[in-house]
């Protein structure tokens, strides 16, 4: 439909002016700086990437980031699909409020997220922290805290993808399945989930990218202990501040590649879906 819009208008000087503005703006703000990081990474060929993988502490940081991201994404996916079903398919008091609150994590400073978690789960003075630690569960300055912080910041992403799709597909098919004797569970797995499959995939990819790159919240809750609770993003800061810019660029390059590939996948899938549906 976008195509038909364009062809009806003749292109005046304003069109070209706006186009030039958009291109120059995005080039200066995003494209050029990102390209420079890529070239900096390969200034010495593959040397800095090799150095990254030769350093056991950095490898540990990368692994920890990946682990926390995967666990947080798994939690948010189950939670997100469940919440979306509740929001779209049922009525309960306070639904509007819940829906508004679910977006909250996107508008809160990562540092505030970290602080909030420390105040509740901190081992010394937190509300639940001391009790949990005496029960053997250390959350702050440990991996569970990193997972909580990561899950917090990326919480709404799956919901934001699934809710509109769920609303769009309607309930006819589900009702048909139920009336033909399928159980709620069967209906969910055979009808509902397959029809929101792509929305879930987008949500998961975006959540994974966001989780992998979380920095501020993780910095507050992790304690940033080398080889233990230092994540990949914290390692970038550490390396850069310790005048090891080449390794900082290399880790940054790895993280950036994952996120750029993630959004590329989503946008390719999306434009394909659009073409099929139109």
């Amino acid at each position: 439909m976008a195509e038909s819009h364009v062809t009806r208008h003749s292109k005046g000087p304003v069109t070209y002016l706006l186009r030039a503005f958009a291109i120059v703006y995005l080039l200066l703000l995003v494209a050029w700086p990102v390209a420079l990081v890529v070239t900096h990474t390969f200034d010495n060929g593959l040397e800095s990437l090799r150095a990254v993988f030769a350093d056991p502490d950095t490898v540990h940081a990368l692994r920890l980031s990946a682990f926390a991201a995967v666990v947080a994404t798994a939690i948010n996916t189950v939670f997100g699909v469940g919440v979306s079903l509740l929001l779209v398919r049922s009525e309960f008091p306070g639904k509007r409020l819940l829906s508004a609150l679910l977006d909250l994590p996107l508008s809160i400073s990562p540092i505030v997220v970290g602080l909030a978690l420390v105040l509740v789960y901190g081992g010394r003075t937190g509300w639940f922290g001391p009790t949990l630690e005496s029960g053997g569960l250390k959350i702050i300055f440990s991996t569970p805290g990193i997972i909580l912080a990561t899950a917090f910041v990326s919480l709404p992403l799956v919901i934001r993808e699934v809710v509109p799709t769920l609303r769009e597909i309607g309930i006819e098919q589900e009702q048909a399945a139920l009336s033909l004797g399928a159980s709620t569970w069967q209906t969910f797995w055979r009808i509902t989930l397959p029809s929101v499959k792509w929305a879930v995939v987008y949500g998961v990819v975006l959540t994974l990218a966001r989780s992998l790159g979380e920095f501020g919240a993780v910095k507050v809750v992790s304690g940033n202990v080398l080889g233990e609770t230092r994540t990949a993003t914290l390692a970038v800061e550490e390396k850069y501040l310790n005048f090891n810019a080449s390794e900082a660029y290399a880790i940054a390059f790895l993280l950036a590649s994952v996120s750029v590939v993630a959004i590329a996948i989503v946008s390719i899938l999306r434009s394909r879906e659009k073409r099929i549906s139109s």
């Binding site: 990081v37 919440v83 990562p110 959004i263």
Partner: protein, 277 residues
């Protein structure tokens, strides 16, 4: 990044609650997890602030260094939000109405700031605007770097809010206006802008909330110099590190209040859009 304008208004014929036993349990577990992860921790911030007392709150947020950081953060967030409202609309316009080779690449570039880890965003900006700048711009460690970082991280919000609305816009109305003798400017001002206004406002609100709490992209770029390039979230972090949770919570409460205001505004705008459509 898709944005959701959930139409949750209850139709009068529908019952207050349609929860079965199983969805009831589901809702219970959902709320428990959401409370443990988000609601209880956020209320802990409010409670800690209140325990510290009004005097402590006021003293914390009016200390010279903190007050300066808050002023810089709010000013920069406002300026950047304004720039985004204009630049975001222009970019969305170009993406929807214009056609040229490489447009798909621009679509991808717009989402990069959203997906890029913030610490990497800082490093990325340093490569073009830092001390080794190929442009000869040395913005690192200056207050200008705060504006730059905010512009980078908030880029997708306005564009992605305006774009879908622009795609849905009925071209017949514009053509009618034009055939009745309206100039392109008048058509834009009187026909297009009013339909875009809610989306622009919503995108602006998101940009503002994001900017006001930004931290990661500034760490390497701004140098966090007191009275120069230090922002509010850095003050919170120093308070945490100095074992001053009440002080940290005070600044955080201020930021939370701002975020909440923004969400309420966003919600009102979305409802207005929904009721119009």
């Amino acid at each position: 990044m898709a944005t959701v304008a959930p139409d949750l208004r209850r139709s009068p014929t529908r019952p207050l609650s349609t929860l079965g036993v199983r969805s009831g349990i589901g809702l219970g577990i959902t709320l428990l997890w959401f409370s443990l992860l988000v609601l209880i921790p956020l209320s802990a911030i409010i409670v800690t602030t209140t325990e510290g007392g009004w005097a402590n709150f006021w003293r914390t947020v009016t200390t010279d260094q903190t007050a300066h950081a808050i002023r810089l953060t709010v000013t920069a967030a406002l300026v950047v939000t304004l720039i985004n409202a204009v630049a975001g609309t222009v970019i969305a316009w170009v993406l929807v109405r214009d056609r040229f080779p490489g447009k798909a690449l621009l679509e991808l570039i717009i989402d990069i700031p959203f997906a890029l880890p913030t610490i990497v965003a800082g490093l990325v900006l340093l490569s073009l605007y830092g001390n080794d700048s190929p442009l000869g711009l040395h913005l690192a460690n200056s207050s200008a770097s705060v504006y730059l970082a905010f512009l980078f991280v908030t880029l997708p919000f306005a564009v992605r809010m305006v774009q879908p609305v622009l795609e849905e816009l009925d071209l017949d109305v514009e053509e009618a206006a034009a055939s009745l003798g309206a100039s392109r400017y008048v058509t834009f001002r009187r026909v297009i802008l009013p339909s875009l206004a809610p989306a622009i406002a919503a995108g602006a609100a998101l940009s503002f909330a994001r900017a006001i709490g930004e931290y990661g992209s500034l760490v390497l770029l701004s140098g966090n110099l007191p009275f120069k390039s230090e922002v509010a979230s850095v003050r919170i972090l120093s308070a945490i590190e100095n074992d001053n949770p009440a002080g940290a919570a005070s600044i955080a409460t201020l930021l939370l209040l701002v975020s909440l205001t923004v969400i309420v505004v966003l919600d009102i705008v979305q409802r207005k859009v929904a009721s119009r459509g």
